[in-house]
């Protein structure tokens, strides 16, 4: 288990100036290598929580500690480095770079700190693509199907062997057939790597596969299911 994957949230508060809090989490712990599902209706604060936990949006108050790193104490560039080293992100709309091939999309994080990714990393990218069932490595992202695009996004998120994987509605843009398949891949690959997994989703089947599931209501987390 990687300690960088353990999460402790304390007195987290997020609100816009002069407005009522959008998010208020007094305490949340996730053990390293465990998975957490979060659900909630639209406007409940899911995306804000997701962005706070990923170090994208700084909270108004409180602490978000991954391993021994308090994200609230880091500046923008340090947060970027932390995400690069420890976090794999998956979005509902995949957010691949259309003008790059499937392989180069997976390798993209490697270009953030090297001119040319080392061969072991390139080999890992090929293995990950094989694992998610993408055979044509040189196909442009723009011509891939939605299911294929999300699978490439999974591979990209896992390339740097992150201790944490966070996914925001990873199956919401897919048709019902692909949802189960892609959900399987997400859980299987993350567990195989021993990474902590946090998933925001409406999909019952996917949430049922998490170690724990919480519901976000009006910005506050409530226990829903303990496995």
């Amino acid at each position: 288990m990687n300690d960088a994957g353990s999460l402790q949230v304390q007195d987290l508060l997020f609100r816009f100036p002069e407005q009522t809090p959008l998010l208020k989490v007094s305490s949340l712990q996730v053990a390293s290598g465990h998975s957490l599902g979060i659900r909630g209706v639209s406007g409940a604060g899911k995306t804000t929580l997701f962005h706070c936990l990923a170090g994208i949006t700084p909270p108004t108050a409180g602490h978000i500690v991954w391993g021994s790193t308090d994200l609230c104490a880091l500046k923008a560039d340090a947060l970027g480095r932390w995400r690069h080293q420890h976090l794999g992100l998956i979005f509902q709309d995949f957010h691949l770079v259309d003008g790059l091939s499937a392989l180069d999309n997976v390798l993209l994080p490697a270009y953030f700190d090297s001119w040319r990714p080392a061969e072991p990393l390139r080999e890992r990218a090929r293995e990950l693509l094989a694992a998610v069932g993408i055979a044509s490595l040189d196909r442009m992202a723009a011509v891939l199907s939605r299911g294929e695009r999300q699978r490439v996004a999974f591979a990209r998120a896992l390339l740097m062997r992150p201790a944490i994987v966070m996914a925001d509605e990873p199956t919401a843009s897919l048709d019902p057939e692909q949802r189960a398949q892609v959900g399987d891949l997400l859980v299987t690959l993350t567990r195989a790597q021993g990474a902590t997994l946090i998933v925001i989703s409406h999909e019952q089947e996917l949430l049922a596969r998490m170690d724990r599931c919480l519901t976000l209501q009006a910005g506050q987390l409530q226990a829903r299911q303990q496995l």
Binding site: I56, G80, G99, D104, Y111, F112, D113
Partner: protein
């Protein structure tokens, strides 16, 4: 630990995906640069070409009148009716102190559009400095030396036609028996001078006078003699005299000596300088237009790029969300702008040079002297300045992307 980074995969992908915007940007910059380079290089080429064409005329003497007209008619062989100098002035110039040679420039006839210039052998050989590439300089009446661009072989014979232009009607051309009775034989070809004189035919001036029924400048007993010494009593009027002085001081002295009520004397370079001042003013105006165009183009390009980058703000937010540093994203945006402007400037430089060369080629046939095109410091400043401006302007969208909060970009449409 960071070991550098590589923004080029993203830059390449962006340019590929937005190729229309990229090409329009490159094209706009290229046209702007090409226009600037063409204007600057053409003005310079015209100046250098015209100056080179005047090299053979140190001091030019003509009848009182327009100095510009005298230069255009004599140096550039632009056909215009100019008053004649009294013939005795030719004899006077030929024997004046400090004169290497004083050559009459007598025109009025042509062969198939090629001006036939009556002069002396010393002018044809530029005082011995210009050796024929074929044959020799004329030595007696009825002989001709042709310029490099005249399509007459050594040994060929021809008759002159009256007028400065080739008559369209052959009958008209041969209607004058005085002209058709004269035959010239080509005895030499001059090397290329890259000016209108390459298209001219030089003959003894006495032959031109004879064709036109004038006295021949020599005693009646000496009808076969060509060139100086002249007998002033028998010298007809001449349109112009080209004097080759033996020194710079001599040139100034001769110019003063022939500035009288009966004649004007000038250095063609002086007249050209006046023209260059006018040309310079035109160039300044054109330069202002070019700079204005470039400012507008750069502004349009900047606007287009800003719109393009705003449309891709989510992509840049995603890059930062998945771990790209702010400097990485800044580099992507900045490199894209610089590549587009540099590419446009490079293509524009090539395009400007090519169009200027083509224009010079066409102009050469119109104005009669070669206009050498080469890219100089001014064009370098133009291209370099634009690239520098692009590099600075590129920091603006890059800075906007750099500053933008990630979350704001992620939720943008």
């Amino acid at each position: 630990m960071m070991h550098g980074f590589n923004p080029f995969p993203v830059v390449r992908a962006d340019l590929r995906r937005n190729r229309l915007l990229a090409w329009v940007t490159v094209l706009l910059v290229a046209i702007s640069v090409a226009t600037g380079i063409a204007v600057i290089s053409q003005e310079r080429a015209l100046r250098q070409g015209s100056a080179r064409a005047a090299d053979d005329f140190d001091v030019l003497v003509g009848a009182p009148g327009s100095a510009t007209q005298l230069v255009l008619t004599s140096v550039y062989l632009r056909p215009q009716a100019i008053p004649l100098l009294d013939g005795d002035l030719l004899a006077k110039a030929s024997t004046a102190a400090g004169v290497k040679y004083a050559a009459p420039i007598a025109f009025g006839d042509n062969w198939q559009g090629h001006s036939i210039i009556g002069t002396i052998a010393d002018f044809a050989s530029r005082g011995g400095a210009l050796a024929p590439t074929q044959g020799r300089i004329f030595q007696k009446r009825g002989e001709a030396v042709v310029g490099a661009g005249v399509g007459l072989a050594i040994g060929a014979t021809f008759s002159p036609a009256h007028g400065l232009h080739h008559a369209q009607d052959d009958e008209e051309e041969h209607a004058d028996p005085a002209h058709s009775a004269v035959h010239y034989t080509v005895v030499g070809r001059l090397p290329a001078r890259h000016n209108i004189w390459d298209m001219a035919i030089l003959v003894p001036v006495e032959d031109v006078w004879r064709v036109h029924g004038l006295s021949l400048g020599h005693d009646a007993t000496d009808v076969e003699h060509i060139g100086p010494p002249w007998n002033p009593k028998y010298l007809p009027g001449v349109p112009a005299i080209a004097i080759k002085p033996d020194s710079v001081a001599g040139a100034y002295r001769l110019r003063g000596q022939f500035r009288t009520s009966r004649s004007v004397a000038l250095f063609p370079a002086e007249v050209l300088n006046d023209l260059y001042v006018t040309l310079g003013n035109v160039r300044d105006l054109m330069s202002l237009l070019v700079i204005t165009t470039q400012v507008l183009v750069v502004a349009a390009v900047l606007m287009a790029l800003l719109v393009g980058f705003l449309a891709r703000r989510r992509q840049f937010a995603v890059l930062r969300a998945i771990g790209a540093s702010r400097i990485y994203v800044f580099s992507v945006v900045w490199i894209e702008v610089v590549l587009l402007i540099t590419g446009g400037a490079a293509i524009g430089a090539l395009l400007g040079w090519a169009s200027s060369t083509a224009l010079s080629y066409w102009m050469q046939s119109q104005i009669g002297f070669e206009m050498p095109v080469h890219l100089g410091a001014a064009e370098g400043v133009l291209v370099g300045g634009l690239i520098l401006a692009g590099a600075m302007i590129g920091t603006l969208p890059a800075w906007l992307v750099f500053r933008r909060p990630i979350a704001e970009g992620l939720v943008s449409g």
